[in-house]
C-alpha cells in the first residue's frame, strides 16, 4: 500500500521539471480514487541530479524510486500503480564509495518539517550541547579535527576557541552561504534540503562560543534556500529551540547581491553592514573586530552541517572517517564531461579517479583533467588521478580543496581557454582595491587573450608565470592571492598546449576561434544548403566554400549539417585538406 509520495523539488529538480510533475501527480492521484488521501510531499535533493525529476513512492513494503519522470499522466499513473518501469537504480560503484553522513537525510525528509527532522534524531545534538560546558564543546570540535569546508581548511575548533575567549555579550556567528564558485552547489543543496541541520550546527556554535547574534549570508540567486531557511527559523523560534542559556539568540538570513569577493570574510562583513563588499587587510581578524566591531566568527554551511554529528556521536567517531589531517567526509558538486553529474559525499582520502570514474561515470581515457576549487583552485591532470582527496595532497598539486566544485574536463577541451575563463571571472570580480589584483589579473587576462587569439609569444608564457607568482604574493585578500592558480596549474601540467598556441598557432582542442577555420568537406556535402541558411553572416558561398575571413566561428553551420560534412580545422587546414 502506498503510504507517501515524495517529489524532489530542490533547484536541480525544479530545473528539470519537477514542478510540473508534482502538480500533475497530485491531480492524477486525486483521480485515482484509492490514492486520494496519500500525502504527496516535496523533498530536497538526494544528490543524483542527473536523474531528476525523481519521484519516490513509499509503501508499507518498501520504497521505489523513479528517475527522469515526465509530466505525463499515463506515466504517472504507472508509477502510482507501482509498475516496474522507470525504477531508478543508482550505479553500484557510487553506492559502494560514497559515504552519506551529513547528506543522510537529504531528499528523504521534508526540508521544512521540524517534526520529521526531530523524528530522525534532529536537535538531539543541540539538546546534548545544552548539557555540556562551552569549553567541552569547543574541545570536542577541536578533537574532531574538523577543518573549514569553505575553502581554506582552517581548524574549526580553533576558530571557535578564539571567539569563545572574547569577553563580550555582543558576539556574532556567521554562516557563509555565499557559494561564489561558479560551478558549485553543495551549500545550496544543503540549505534547500536540510535547513534544520545547518541551523542546529549554528545553534551549537552559539552555545560553544557564546555568540548571541547569528547571520546566514546567502547568495541572492538561491531563493529556495532563503525560503526554506526562513521557514525553519520561524519553526525553531516557535519551538524555542533558539533559547540558549536562557537567552533567545537572534537568527537572520541576509541576502547577498552578487559579488564573489563577498565570500571573503571581511568583504562579507562589509556587505552585511550594507556597504560595498570590499575586503580589508587582516589583522585585525574578525574574531577581534568583526560585524560592527563585535567579535565575529565565520564558518561555511557545510562546516556547520558537520557539527551535529560530532556532538551527537563524539569526536572519536568522526575521526574514523577520512585521513589523519582531513577527517570526515566532503561534499562535491560534480559536473562537466561525465555521465552522473550531481552532488556526492565521499570520505576524505578517496582518490580523484574514484570520484571521477567510479562515481561520476566519466569515460576512462576521455578525461584530460579535473578542475577543483573553482576560480581559486587549479586543474589536476589525469596522470595524478590516484591522488587522495585531502587538503594537503591537493595543495601539493597546486590546486586546493576549495568548497567542493569539481568539474571534469574532457580531452576535447582547451586548457588555455579554461584558464582564460577563470581569469576573466576573477578579473571581473576583483574589487579593485589593491593594485596587484586589479591591474595584475587584468594584465594576465590580456596575455591569455593574446595567446588564445593567436598572437602570443614565448615571452607571454613566461610573463604569465612571473606575474602570477607576484599577484599571489602581493594581493590584499584571498581573491587575488589565489586568482592565478588556474593559470599556474595549467602552465605546470599543460605547458605543451600553451607552447602549441604560441609556436605553431595551433589549438589542439580546436576551440580557440582565432586558431581554427571552418571547412566544408565536398565529399560529404549533399548540397542541401541548410548551412547557407543558418549562417548569420552569409559567409558560405553557393558552391559551399566558407569565407573564413568573414566567418565568426559560431558553429551554426556545423550544428545544422545533417551530413557531418562541416568541421573545425586548424587554421589554414582547409587549404591543406582541400589540396
Amino acid at each position: 500500500m502506498v503510504t507517501r509520495i515524495k517529489v524532489g523539488t530542490a533547484s536541480c529538480g525544479i530545473a528539470a521539471g519537477a514542478g510540473e510533475v508534482l502538480q500533475l501527480l497530485r491531480k492524477t492521484a486525486e483521480q485515482h480514487g484509492t490514492l486520494s488521501d496519500v500525502p504527496i510531499v516535496e523533498v530536497g535533493c538526494i544528490g543524483h541530479c542527473y536523474a531528476e525529476p525523481l519521484v519516490e513512492v513509499e509503501t508499507d513494503s518498501g520504497r521505489y524510486f523513479y528517475e527522469k519522470v515526465e509530466p505525463k499522466q499515463d506515466q504517472l499513473r504507472r508509477i502510482l500503480n507501482l509498475e516496474e518501469q522507470g525504477r531508478f537504480r543508482p550505479n553500484e560503484a557510487r553506492a559502494q564509495k560514497e559515504r552519506t553522513s551529513i547528506m543522510a537525510l537529504a531528499g528523504r525528509i521534508e526540508p521544512t518539517s521540524l517534526e520529521e527532522y526531530r523524528g530522525h534524531g534532529g536537535y538531539e545534538a543541540l539538546a546534548a550541547a545544552h548539557e555540556m560546558a562551552p569549553e567541552k564543546l569547543v574541545e570536542e570540535v577541536k578533537e574532531s579535527r574538523l577543518r573549514g569546508r569553505g575553502g581554506g581548511g582552517f581548524p574549526t575548533g580553533l576558530k571557535w576557541r578564539f571567539l569563545a575567549g572574547k569577553e563580550s555579550d555582543n558576539k556574532v556567528l556567521i554562516c557563509n552561504a555565499d557559494e561564489g564558485d561558479p560551478g558549485a552547489f553543495m551549500d545550496r543543496t544543503l540549505m534547500e534540503s536540510l535547513p534544520h541541520l545547518v541551523l542546529e550546527g549554528m545553534l551549537i556554535g552559539a552555545k560553544a562560543t557564546g555568540a548571541r547574534r547569528l547571520f546566514i549570508y546567502c547568495r541572492a540567486e538561491y531563493p529556495r534556500a532563503v525560503k526554506n531557511l526562513n521557514t525553519a527559523i520561524e519553526q525553531i523560534r516557535a519551538a524555542e529551540l533558539n533559547v540558549i542559556d536562557g537567552h533567545a539568540v537572534d537568527i537572520r538570513v541576509k541576502e547577498g547581491a552578487g559579488a564573489f569577493v563577498c565570500g571573503e570574510e571581511t568583504g562579507l562583513i562589509h556587505s552585511l553592514e550594507g556597504r560595498r563588499g570590499t575586503p580589508r587587510y587582516r589583522p585585525p581578524y574578525p574574531t577581534d573586530y568583526g560585524f560592527h566591531g563585535a567579535p565575529t566568527a565565520i564558518n561555511n554551511v557545510e562546516t556547520f552541517a558537520n557539527i551535529p554529528q560530532i556532538v551527537r556521536y563524539g569526536a572519536s567517531a568522526f575521526t574514523k572517517t577520512g585521513t589523519e589531517n582531513s577527517t570526515g567526509t566532503k561534499l562535491f558538486a560534480l559536473a562537466g564531461d561525465l555521465q552522473y553529474s550531481g552532488l556526492v559525499e565521499v570520505p576524505m582520502g578517496l582518490s580523484i579517479g574514484e570520484v571521477v570514474f567510479d562515481i561520476g561515470g566519466a569515460e576512462r581515457g576521455g578525461v584530460k583533467a579535473v578542475q577543483i576549487g573553482g576560480p581559486s583552485g587549479g586543474c589536476i591532470p589525469a596522470e595524478h588521478f590516484d591522488t587522495p582527496i585531502d587538503y594537503d595532497s591537493l595543495s601539493s598539486l597546486g590546486a586546493i580543496m576549495g568548497s567542493g566544485g569539481l568539474i571534469v574536463i574532457g580531452t576535447n577541451r582547451c586548457m588555455v581557454e579554461t584558464a582564460r575563463y577563470f581569469l576573466e571571472f576573477t578579473t571581473r570580480e576583483s574589487c579593485g582595491k589593491c593594485t596587484f589584483c586589479r591591474v595584475g589579473t587584468k594584465r594576465m587576462l590580456e596575455t591569455l587573450e593574446r595567446i588564445t587569439g593567436g598572437e602570443g609569444s614565448a615571452a607571454d608564457i613566461e610573463r604569465l608565470g612571473d606575474l602570477g607568482t607576484k599577484i599571489k604574493q602581493g594581493s590584499l585578500c584571498g581573491l587575488g592571492q589565489t586568482a592565478p592558480n588556474p593559470v599556474l596549474s595549467t602552465l605546470r601540467y599543460f605547458n605543451d598546449e600553451y607552447q602549441s598556441h604560441v609556436e605553431e598557432g595551433f589549438c589542439p582542442a580546436l576551440e580557440c576561434k582565432a586558431l581554427v577555420d571552418i571547412f566544408i568537406d565536398p565529399d560529404q556535402c549533399n548540397g542541401c544548403k541548410l548551412c547557407i541558411k543558418a549562417c548569420p553572416v552569409n559567409c558560405i558561398s553557393e558552391d559551399f566554400v566558407v569565407d573564413n575571413a568573414v566567418c565568426t566561428r559560431c558553429n551554426s553551420c556545423i550544428e545544422v549539417c545533417r551530413q557531418n560534412a562541416i568541421s573545425r580545422v586548424a587554421k589554414g587546414g582547409a587549404v591543406r585538406v582541400a589540396s
Binding site: C12, P182, E221, K254, G258, G274, A335, S556
Partner: protein, 167 residues
C-alpha cells in the same frame, strides 16, 4: 509603521533589492529617494549599486534571459549559446532590445550544472540546449508575443471605442 525608527544602514542592500524586485531596475530617481531615506549621499548608494552585479541600472526586457556561464556550462558550450542568442535577438550580453521585449545577461552558475548548457527565461530553466532547441525556445516566445500583441491591440482598440476615448 514606527515613524521614529531610523532606517538601519545594514538594510540598504535589502531596500535596493526590494526596489529592483518591484521596478525591475534601479533608476536615478530611486537612488536619490533611497539616499534621502538612509540619510547618505546619493553617490554612496550608487557605489553600493555598482558594486553588486545583481543591481541593474537599465530596465530589463519583458523576457529576461540569463545565460549561464558557470564553469560546467562554459565548458560544455555557453560561449556558443551566447553567440546564437545574440544573432537571434540582435542584442549582446547586458543589453535590452529596442522594443523592450528581450534582454540578455550572462551569469555565473544557475545551479543546475547537470543540465548544462543552461539558460533561464524569467526564471524558467531550459537545459541541455543545442542550437536547435535554443532557437525553437526563442521562436516560441516570439510567437506567443506576436499573437498576444495582436489580441492586446484589438483589445485596447475596443476599449477605446467603448469609452469613446480618442488616441
Amino acid at each position: 509603521m514606527e515613524q521614529t525608527a531610523a532606517v538601519e544602514r545594514s538594510d540598504l542592500i535589502k531596500t535596493l533589492q526590494k526596489e529592483q524586485e518591484t521596478e525591475g531596475y534601479i533608476s536615478d530617481e530611486a537612488i536619490e529617494r533611497i539616499a534621502t531615506e538612509f540619510d547618505v549621499p546619493p553617490v554612496e548608494v550608487e557605489g553600493v549599486v555598482s558594486f553588486y552585479t545583481q543591481f541593474k541600472r537599465i530596465p530589463p526586457g519583458k523576457y529576461h534571459i540569463m545565460v549561464c556561464d558557470g564553469t560546467a556550462c562554459h565548458i560544455i558550450g555557453a560561449p556558443l549559446i551566447l553567440t546564437w542568442l545574440a544573432d537571434a535577438l540582435g542584442i549582446r550580453d547586458g543589453e535590452t532590445d529596442e522594443n523592450g521585449l528581450f534582454s540578455m545577461e550572462s551569469v555565473a552558475c544557475l545551479g543546475c550544472c547537470s543540465l548544462a548548457p543552461v539558460i533561464s527565461i524569467n526564471g524558467k530553466v531550459y537545459g541541455k540546449l543545442d542550437r536547435k532547441k535554443l532557437l525553437k525556445t526563442i521562436r516560441e516566445y516570439k510567437k506567443a508575443e506576436d499573437s498576444n500583441g495582436r489580441s492586446n491591440q484589438t483589445q485596447s482598440k475596443s476599449t477605446a471605442e467603448n469609452t469613446g476615448a480618442a488616441e
